[in-house]
Amino acid sequence: MPKYAYYPGCAVHASARDYAVSAQLVCQALGIELQEIKDWTCCGASSAHPTSHLLGLSLAARNLRLAEEMGLTLTSPCPACTSRLAGARHELRDPAALAEVNDILGKDFGNTVGVEHLLQVLSKGDRALPVKRPLGGLKVAPYYGCLIVRPQKVLGFDHEENPQSLDRLLSAVGAEVVPWGFKTECCGAGMPMARKDMVHKLSGRILAAARSAGAEAVAVACPLCHSNLDMHQGDMKPNPKMPVLYFTQLMGLALGFSAKELLLDTHFTDALALLRGKGLA
């Protein structure tokens, strides 16, 4: 059974509880073991690194070291965390930087641990999915966000401009994937407090593009994307009224879990009416 050191990250652990729960259910159903890293802490996110390189690297390295101790590849459902952790691993290939960070940690970290986003883990190989309830042609716009596939030289996963992994997963569970041009456009990331206007503009045009591509729902793989596209939708004018679901929730539905188990009732923009109409909830 494939086993990973699981790093949920602060947002997935709390406000994106629905993502955490659906990810665990899907992994269980597929026989992938996510073993949570004990005592994990914040990766530094987008606040630490541009404040102090050394701080950003050290906060990330603390978690990488814990995964290294477990002897497992680290996986996270959060693209921002994955990007921070993989970015640190990349920078720490420089022995001088690694020595400096080890000095701060007071530990012997070898920087040998692999880092993969959950989407990468789930889209590996040609895993047969035990689909119990195909999504019946639900029209979904696959939204990757900016950091899952960028930059290639650090992550080495999928394609920077036109990624396919999420498209394939969603098709495999019976969704109809709509072609569109906003797969990797930015949603406004961590700006909803400081510059709400930017989030409304950037997320608003993503939702509008999904609508005009004929999508009935948007699939996401990031807690920040979900919060920007779902929670902040109600404040946009006009209200796009576009259901936004985690890809693990869509997979979970197809694998036979109920909408309630997948916490689909906790979203701001109602997804249940759409799912009921398709006989999925």
């Binding site: 602060c10 406000s15 541009p50 900016c146 960028r150 930015c186 700006m191 407090m193 709400k196 929670m231």
Partner: protein, 196 residues
Amino acid sequence: MSVNAVVPAPGTPFVKRVEGLSGQKVLKCIQCGKCSAGCPAAFAMDFTPRQVMRALQLGLPSDELLGASTIWVCLFCQTCSVRCPMELDIAGVMEALRLVAIEDKHPAAQKNIALFHRLFLWGIARTGRLHEFGLGGMFNVRSRQPFLNVSHLPKMLFSRRLPVLPPWPWSKGAGEVRRIFRRVQAAQKASRGSHA
């Protein structure tokens, strides 16, 4: 000398510092504008990414860039960096500029974004993990916008997606993170001292 010859400017100490921090050579930029064309935050910037590169090439006064909104509204989405035909890491240059602005205590053009990052780190330095409820509350108080995003609260609390209690500050992880903050601060003080 031919009138067309490009004479590379030697680069001011400020430009050298940005190049050193980012590991990028700004003279490599051919001003094609691809970075600006794809930048999702360009509409909110006073200097577009291409203009930032040009300002560095020309060695314009550092105040212009350090006091710009650009370095704060940049989302670090990496779009520019992965598209640049000269393989320049423009996002890395933005980050370097922000680092210099913070180090030199240059007043931030986007006070609320700077405040957000400060409060974020303040919280992490205490509890090791982000406490979203606390960060939101502190941000609203300090930015004097008491009702910002408050309309989302009932649903978030009701669906148990917003823990009100902070992460346990006496956990092993929180203690180690506090030590990381202390040691990084000490190391940086020492290195600044040795430069002076």
